[in-house]
């Protein structure tokens, strides 16, 4: 196909170029822009009419002049070239190698803006993934094909948590078979290095594809990068039958790049300057996770985002929560108390947990135990609040036990080592140890049968605590 080349740029402003007298250019076409010195920039057609064409230039329009800028229309949408060789490689937001090695040569190219999955083609995600982290496995279980983000904030250990998930995630009865797609947008060198070293030290590098856009790389490439990454993930999952875990960080930088571009285009802002279509745009990314009928592979998505000023109602976490299938929320308060991982369970949620746990999946008591811990912790936090007003000594004996429970819950259940890989059975047993701090009459979410089986003092309220069972 002969690409068309023009020198009819009529305006260059805020990252946008207008080119006149270019008939029949496709909307979304890829563009190569050459400046007076012959240096190349990349772009994409964002509006096309028979009179003029509007181009978004990824590297910006600084230092472009109208006379000597050449524009070449490549007659192809943004694509990525795919082969099994992408594993172990590092790419930028346009799919070009970033590891100094030659490009991936393949006849298979795919447009990065996939058509939507037909809901009739999906199957409901149900297979429990054990991450070895109690607050996730026990209370906010992740299943294969789910999109479950980590809501964090600056200075919190989201990277370490994401890395721990990547290291430990497996089906309980299988060895880890996840291929990893790692997408980093606007990250610092140290964050990027952290992940690269993580992957190297856990020996999974050969099973990872990385897409990296650094904080000083063009922001517009942050918009194409996750789409590149997901196209690669779809290839691994649905062409090569692999179970893929996609980690994306930091979606806040992504959204900020979108706002920057939207503002330049003059789009009407909705909240905090973000364009009204931020929701639709984010869904194009998140809805690419899932399970598909008759396909062996799957795409599980763990995006990381930082909540600006720790505010969960900020449009970025807010819209994300409306799209994803739950969220794991990190808390500064727990972090400051030295709890790792500082998962704040109250606002955390996994919506797909209900079908992936319980009898035949994890253990029959799991749904009720999870529910019970939630209810008790909510009550215990209220009590703690009350204690801070009237003093702990003023509390009733019953309330004192709630306080004890809250402390034990945070120190023993939420907190765990960065290398501690708890099995789901360990997590549930630990949960019962904590539930046993309270009398059976306080436990209305678990059944009487479950209590008889697992509660340490079932049958007798007065019974002394037995010696603790060693964890399996």
């Amino acid at each position: 196909m002969s690409a068309k080349e023009y020198r009819t740029v009529s305006s260059a402003q805020g990252g946008l170029l207008t080119v006149s007298q270019v008939p029949g250019i496709a909307f979304g076409d890829r563009v190569e822009v050459r400046d007076s010195q012959g240096r190349k920039r990349n772009g994409q057609v964002i509006r096309s009419s028979s009179i003029e064409v509007l181009i978004q230039v990824f590297e910006g329009t600084d230092h472009l002049d109208l006379e000597s800028t050449w524009v070449r229309f490549l007659d192809t949408p943004l694509e990525i070239s795919l082969s099994p060789e992408i594993l172990g490689r590092v790419f930028d937001g346009l799919g070009e190698p970033k590891d100094g090695r030659p490009p991936v040569v393949s006849r298979l190219h795919r447009g990065i803006n996939a058509n939507a999955f037909n809901p009739a083609a999906r199957t409901y995600p149900k297979e429990f993934i054990q991450t070895g982290i109690s607050t996730i496995d026990g209370l906010n279980s992740l299943v294969r094909g789910q999109k479950l983000p980590i809501f964090s904030a600056s200075g919190l250990p989201h990277n370490r948590l994401a890395a721990q998930i990547v290291r430990q995630a497996k089906l309980p009865d299988e060895e880890s078979h996840f291929s990893i797609v790692f997408a980093a947008m606007g990250v610092s060198y140290s964050d990027a290095r952290f992940f690269q070293e993580e992957f190297a030290s856990s020996g999974v590098l050969g099973n990872v594809v990385m897409f990296i856009n650094m904080a000083d790389d063009p922001p517009v490439e942050r918009l194409t990068l996750p789409r590149m990454a997901l196209t690669a993930a779809e290839y691994l999952a649905f062409d090569l039958d692999r179970h893929v875990l996609v980690v994306m960080t930091d979606m806040t930088h992504y959204a900020e790049a979108l706002r920057e571009v939207a503002t330049a285009k003059g789009d009407v802002p909705a909240r905090k300057g973000y364009p009204g279509y931020l929701y639709s745009d984010l869904t194009e990314i998140y809805e690419r996770s899932g399970r598909i009928k008759d396909r062996h592979g799957s795409i599980t998505l763990v995006p990381v985002l930082s909540m600006p000023s720790d505010d969960i109602t900020h449009p970025i976490p807010d819209l994300t929560g409306y799209i994803t299938e739950g969220q794991i929320v990190l808390s500064r308060e727990l972090h400051n108390q030295g709890v790792y991982p500082p998962v704040h369970i109250s606002p955390s949620l996994s919506r797909l947990m209900k079908d992936g746990i319980g009898k035949d999946f994890t253990r029959e008591d799991h749904p009720h135990v999870s529910n019970q811990l939630y209810a008790l912790y909510a009550r215990a936090l209220e009590t703690r609040n009350l204690a801070s007003i009237i003093g702990a000594d003023e509390l009733s004996a019953r309330d004192q036990r709630y306080l004890e429970f809250a402390d034990a819950f945070e120190k023993r259940f939420v907190a765990q080592g960065e290398d501690e890989d708890r099995s789901i059975v360990e997590t549930l047993n630990l949960a019962w140890e904590l539930l046993s701090l309270l009398p059976t009459t306080a436990l209305t979410r678990v059944t009487e049968t479950e209590m008889a089986k697992y509660h340490r003092h079932a049958g007798s309220e007065l019974q002394q605590p037995e010696q603790k069972e060693p964890l399996a």
Partner: protein, 596 residues
């Protein structure tokens, strides 16, 4: 004669075409791929078109064709049990034809043309009589639970010159011929088309008189919605809007359920598709899927089709209403629809008024909700469409435009609260912010069908919850010691109501559905126990002694122990609970005698 033209400008989903003679609202097919779209404004020979599919790689200069009709749906047998996209394309069929992803430019018939349906003509209908829109020509048993009445389309009237005898027909076959006033012969089939943006006509509106029973205690007992009513479920993310809607879709006593996933998750529709076929309708005993239809515009599908999806849903709902059915339509989420409106209006450069929304947001919303209601149909008695929209306010802030406009339109408001959801109090419907304008109408039904004390008991429970909120505030300031025993018992009573009645797990096989009788029995039992306890406290029984009673824990759990057809056992348990409180009373009376 088709109108032909060309594309002039592509701006995402908004495309300018040059097509003389095209009408506003007309469907057009654009580009080499043949993407479908709808004309939204005209200027000279140019028209602005919103396209239902992605316009990537479409070029100026490509051809355009006008289709001479507005966006319409096919209405006839074969709808039930199906899943369609936002412009009524059949998704199952497209999956078989085209695979995992929805390709562009594909548009198979919405209804299957191969299937045969057994048509039984209306006995009393003779040729040579006058017929008009809505007259029943006959019927088809669409599924075991749905009798599909075949109606004269609303825009046809004249002399019936022929009607087919009982037999099997496919959708393309003529089942009746009508000669209109101007002599034209209209061949009627088992299906017809109707433009989605035009409400279907009926004889007259009728007032709603019966509550829609959803089997959800906080909805039916506390904030009832009438058949033909309008309701909204607002709430922040994760609070349970979709769950509420799924529960209503599962357990309500409607004849037909239309579930519109409007800009929401693909997996939530899969959940319905996977679970409904195996669930039994508690009223008919048949599979729920037999009376359910899904419209799926998932969030990642093009936004213009999202805007259309709720009209597709409501038109199908009206069509079944016209057959005399009680229809429930659920729209999850109307906020995504409003956002689609906002996006298109932004692309058109229209002046935004609040948070980027166009000035016509409020009027579009109310016009949409106005299509709900109970009506006298032309020939099939009364029918109704109850409409329940989820609202997803940014940041959970109910003062934002979509929530606040919706609140002015609807009669029933099921407000979800983040605090309740965080504490895993489900359904997280806040009893303070929620309301129903139809309690007294519902009360008449409950008093007649279930118990004369319904309204009284409901009022008692609500006032206890209000007292609980007040007292909890005091506790949080000065501690529980400040409360009297009677006041502390109120806290216990409210906790009983919250756990034993208001909380209802959608995931528990027993508790997921509660018949009206069970709802009332539970409420009445807990309040009776509360009253008994209050008496005991007056006699001087310490609160501690009562609140530690194991029977209280059992009372909180009995909703999950006895299902709706084990009410005798529930009654027996109630007697046992009452007795155990009575025995405390006599114990105390004795002790009192001894000490005196």
């Amino acid at each position: 004669m088709t109108k032909k033209g060309i594309i002039k400008d592509i701006n995402g989903p908004i495309v300018t075409i040059i097509l003389p003679g095209v009408a506003n609202g007309e469907q057009v097919k654009i580009g080499e791929l043949g993407l479908y779209g709808e004309v939204i404004s005209l200027q000279g020979s140019e028209a602005l078109v919103q396209i239902y599919e992605s316009t990537e790689m479409v070029r100026p200069g490509e051809p355009v064709e006008g289709l001479s009709h507005p966006l319409s749906v096919e209405l006839g047998p074969g709808l039930m049990g199906g899943i369609f996209d936002g412009v009524q394309r059949p998704l199952e069929k497209m999956f078989l034809q085209a695979g995992d992803q929805i390709p562009r430019g594909l548009s198979p018939d919405s209804l299957d043309r191969e299937s045969q349906w057994t048509f039984t003509p209306t006995e009393s209908l003779e040729p040579n009589t006058q017929v008009s829109g809505g007259i029943q020509l006959g019927s088809v048993q669409e599924t075991e639970s749905v009798l599909h009445r075949i109606l004269v389309p609303p825009d046809v009237s004249g002399e019936l010159i022929e009607i087919a005898p009982q037999g099997d027909y496919s959708l393309d076959q003529t089942i009746a011929q009508v000669k209109t006033a101007n002599g034209e012969i209209r061949r009627l089939k088992l299906f017809h088309r109707w433009p989605v943006r035009q409400p279907r006509p009926y004889q007259h509106r009728d007032h709603s008189s019966e509550p829609l029973i959803t089997g959800q205690r906080i909805l039916d007992t506390f904030f009832p919605l009438l058949k033909g009513g309008k309701g909204a479920v607002p709430g922040p993310f994760g609070a349970g809007k979709t769950m509420v809607q799924h529960q209503v879709a599962r357990w309500s006593n409607a004849d037909i359920v239309i579930y519109v996933g409007c800009g929401e998750r693909g997996n939530e529709l899969v959940d319905v598709l996977d679970s409904f076929p195996d669930l039994k309708d508690p009223y008919t005993g048949r599979s729920l899927m037999e009376r359910t239809l899904l419209v799926a515009n998932t969030s990642n599908m093009p936004v213009v089709a999202r805007e259309a999806s709720i009209y597709v849903g409501i038109t199908i709902a009206e069509y079944y209403r016209d057959q005399g059915h009680d229809v429930v339509m659920l729209a999850d989420s109307t906020s995504r629809w409003a956002e689609a409106l906002r996006e298109v209006s932004g692309r058109l450069g229209q002046m935004p008024v609040e948070e980027g929304y166009p000035a016509y947001l409020a009027s579009r919303l109310s016009a949409f909700y106005e299509r709900a209601g109970r009506v006298e149909t032309h020939d099939c008695g009364k029918g109704s469409v109850s409409l329940i929209g989820a609202v997803s306010p940014p940041g959970g802030d109910f003062s934002e435009p979509v929530t606040s406009h919706t609140k002015e339109i609807i009669q029933t408001f099921w407000a979800l609260s983040k605090e309740l959801a965080d504490a895993r109090h489900y359904p997280a419907i806040d009893w303070v912010d929620s309301f129903s304008a139809d309690v007294s109408t519902a009360a008449a039904w409950w008093h007649e069908q279930v118990d004369r004390n319904w309204e009284k008991r409901r009022g008692q429970a609500l006032s206890m919850l209000a007292r609980d909120a007040e007292l909890s505030r005091i506790v949080n300031l000065v501690g529980p010691e400040a409360l009297s025993s009677a006041q502390r018992w109120i806290l216990e009573g409210a906790a009983l109501i919250k756990e034993g009645v208001l909380q209802q797990s959608a995931l528990d096989p027993v508790d997921t559905f509660s018949s009206p009788e069970k709802q009332f029995l539970l409420l009445d039992t807990l309040l009776t126990i509360y009253d008994q306890g209050a008496d005991l406290i007056e006699l001087g029984v310490p609160v501690q002694e009562l609140s530690n009673l194991p029977i209280l824990a059992k009372l909180r759990r009995c909703k999950e122990v006895y299902d709706s057809d084990q009410l005798d056992q529930l009654r027996a348990f109630r007697e046992q609970a009452i007795k155990s409180f009575e025995s405390i009373r006599s114990e105390y009376a004795q002790r009192g005698e001894q000490t005196s």
